[in-house]
Amino acid sequence: IGEIRRYLRDNNPIRVSRSLRDVAYKALQVRDVLVNKNSREPSINEIASEMNVPREEIVFALDAIQEPISLFEPIYH
């Protein structure tokens, strides 16, 4: 049974959610690199061109790892 499970898993085509998370974490890494390099927040186009991924894809991906926002954060924003 273990073998069958592994077989099924290995043949399980990649679901969107996993690939989105990969892109999103990469984007956040690239953002950190660019912040350190330029000492300012990069724009979405700067991140996109660094990653060679359309900016809309990055936007889509980032939503997949969006953390629940604290409802009281904005007061101190």
Partner: protein
């Protein structure tokens, strides 16, 4: 001010469409080349408005929610509209911590969040005919592109 681009999205008042509408507005706003922080602000504000339409406007019953967005140089204008219940007293509704559904653990901070995350907020509403929320955000160093 020159209108650079515009779009309109209609979708059903289902909770799974909250994430969908957030992605749509972020993808559209990204044409102004914002930072990730600016994008997150826009998504959060739109999320709050859409959640309000689902929970308060239609009270979890089926209905249509419309998002319109317009891009200008350095500025995005977003309208979120429903044809649901409407708001009796808009001024009271906009106050921090005020909610009509305390029993549902609502925080009453939705309008306050929209106001703080965006640069302008207008609310038009009347009981029985629905609610329209218009929000504007300035995008620093914006470059409309592609």
């Amino acid at each position: 001010m020159e209108l650079l681009n515009e779009m309109q999205l209609d979708f059903l008042s289902k909770s799974e469409n909250e994430a969908f509408s957030r992605i749509v507005i972020a993808a559209f706003a990204s044409q102004l080349d914002p930072t990730l922080d600016e994008l997150a602000d826009i998504k959060t504000a739109v999320s709050e408005a859409v959640t309000n339409s689902i929970i308060h406007g239609y009270e979890d019953k089926p209905g249509i929610i419309r998002i319109q967005a317009k891009l200008y140089d350095g500025r995005i204008e977003i309208v979120v509209q429903d044809w649901g219940k409407g708001i009796e007293d808009i001024e009271k509704a906009r106050q921090p911590l005020w909610t009509s559904k305390p029993e549902q653990d609502r925080s009453g901070m939705g309008f306050t969040i929209m106001e703080n995350f965006m640069d302008e907020l207008e609310v038009e509403s009347s009981p029985g005919s629905g609610t329209l929320v218009r929000m504007t955000k300035n995008i620093k160093d914006s470059k409309y592109s592609r």
